[in-house]
Structures are given as C-alpha cells and as structure tokens.
Symmetry: C2
Subunit: 158 residues, 2 copies
DNA sequence: CTCATTTAGCTGAGCTTTCAACAACCATAA
DNA sequence: TTATGGTTGTTGAAAGCTCAGCTAAATGAG
C-alpha cells in the first residue's frame, strides 16, 4: 500500500464475511484433501492431474496446458508429475517433430486404475461436504459467485 | 466407499459448480497469500495468528484456543508459533498456578508492529479481490453459504 | 491411592509447494 | 546471419504442512 493512512479497513460486516468464507473454504479443502490422502495416498492436486489427463484425447497433455487446467504453476506441476512418474501413474516424453522444448505427460494404465479406484470415495466426499449441505439456490449462487471471482481475479492478473 | 457401483457421480452441472468453486477459492487464496508474503514475508497462516492474538485480552491466548480461532491443527500452530517466536513476534510461557500443561502465546511489541505494517496491504488486497469484485447481494449469499458449509462440516466432524 | 484414559503441547520425518535461477529452444528483426 | 527477447520446462533450496508418536499433566473410576 502506497499510503497506509488511506486504507479502507474492513467493516465489521465485511470482516465477518471474509472470515466466514476463509474458514469454510479452508475446512472444505482440508476435508477433501484428507479423505483422498487417507484412501488413496494422493493429495488432491495429484488427483486433479490424473483427472485432466484422463479426459484428454490420448490421455495426454502438454505440461503448460496441463498446468493451466490444474490451476497450477509450471514448477509445481513439474514436481508433481515427477512424483506421479515415480509412482508409475504418468509417463513423460517429448513431442515428435514439433517444438523441441515441449514435454507431454501421458496417463499410464496404472494411473488410470488408480484414478478409477480413488474416484468413488472422492466423489462421495464432495457430495457429502458440498452438494448435500447446500440448497439448489445456494449452489446456483455459489456458481455465480465463483465465476465472478474467477474472471475478476484473472483480469487483474498482475 | 463401501460399494463403488452405487456411487452417485456428479452431474455435469455439479462438476461445473465444483470445479468453478475450487478454482476460484484456490486462486483467491493464492493471491492473498502471495501478496502478504511478498510485502511482509509472512504466510497468511502466520498473519492470522498475529491478528487473533492482537484481538485478545493481554494480547495472549492459550495454544489450543489459538488453534481453534485460526482453524489450525495444534501441531501446525506449534510449528508456526515456534517460527514466529524465532522472529521475535511472539513469546511463549507457561501459566501461573493453573494447568501446568498449558502454554500461552503472547504477541510482542515487535509482533504488533509487524502486524500494523502488514495490515494495510493485506486489507487492500482482500478488498480488491473480494469486496470490489462481488455485489452486495453476492456477498450476502456468500456469507450465508459459508456459514451453512461451516456448520455442516463441523457437525459431520468424524 | 492406583491405574487407565484423556488432554495439552511439542517434535521429527517426510512430503508438497514456492521461489529464483537456469538451460534449451523458438521467434523476430535488423 | 546474429542479436534480442520471450517461452518451455526443470531443478535445488528453503519453507510450511501433515502425520504419527511422544511426554507430561490432568481427570475419573474403582
């Protein structure tokens, strides 16, 4: 902040909203993460990687594209894919004839199996924690809010 | 999951909501975290600790209570307070005459200063990312949703 | 009192993430 | 061609978090 004296502090109401939101989203994230880790040994971030790959043609994607889809930095993805590769869930290779910097991650059969094994428990947890807890109206509102936030955040992207 | 065959998968609409929500809350979290870290070298979790202490009588709290207020595990808090103590922002001591297991964390003057220095930039970021982005109706809805989620999540607490 | 159970808090190991730096490659233009 | 600048992906170090395990102290039942 340039000039702290001009800070527009949060009103009590705004503080209430902010803290409630943070608490809820952190708690939800923690629940989802813990369940997946307990049942399949993977953090959610890794699970998301497998999901995105499984939905892509050839079950493969370029690293940068995969990072975008997973809301991840390239560095983070690099480490994560390295770990998944060590588990035998993903394999990496270059691209034939194209950009020689490119690296492509591909879901292996073992990776697909791991995903199939993990999915039911994960979906169940998401359902219990989110969809069973909120009314249809609340879910619509949540979607609207989330989309608004997303576009606002990446328009500001600095 | 007991029986994967009975999994109630997410509908396309539900997937849309879930992914949008996750993307938005992670992006927001990342922004807030990055700003605070860049400007004051602290992760948000540490900042929250300082805030909670600063709002408490005697600027001090028992560890367990502090953990609750910060939505943190006791272990996490222990590590965090150890780090803050090394920075000179917090001091720890036992409690006179009471439960001899108890430990009390207290905000130091240096800690208070750090908080005062960090607050404007942080508040500004929260305002830009959340309160400037959403309409009053959306904010009301978000609060309602967050409260619903919070109570649902800690009722299920298993 | 004695024993078992629970609670408060800490610690170390292992894992994930962040950040800065880097190498390799592509693209563009003079 | 040769600079120049941007992009892709990786790496290593540092930091934070999670988890299991631990000690010490409180609690409660017999």
């Amino acid at each position: 902040m340039e000039n702290p004296a001009e800070t527009r502090w949060l009103t009590p109401r705004e503080q209430q909203i902010w803290r409630s939101y943070m608490a809820a989203s952190l708690a939800l994230q923690a629940r989802i993460d813990r369940q997946l880790k307990a049942e399949s040994g993977m953090p959610v971030a890794y699970y998301e990687i497998l999901v995105m790959l499984s939905e892509s043609p050839g079950r493969s994607l370029r690293m940068t594209r995969l990072a975008e889809l997973c809301n991840s930095s390239r560095s983070r993805l690099s480490h994560a894919v390295a770990a998944l590769e060590k588990l035998g869930y993903v394999s990496r290779c270059g691209i034939a004839g194209g950009d020689r910097r490119a690296a492509v991650a591909q879901l292996t059969d073992a990776g697909y199996d791991a995903l199939v094994r993990a999915a039911p428990g994960h979906v169940n947890e998401v359902r219990e924690c989110l969809f069973d807890a909120l009314s249809p109206e609340q879910l619509d509102a949540l979607h609207d809010i989330s989309e608004t936030l997303r576009t606002a955040l990446d328009q500001q992207r600095r």
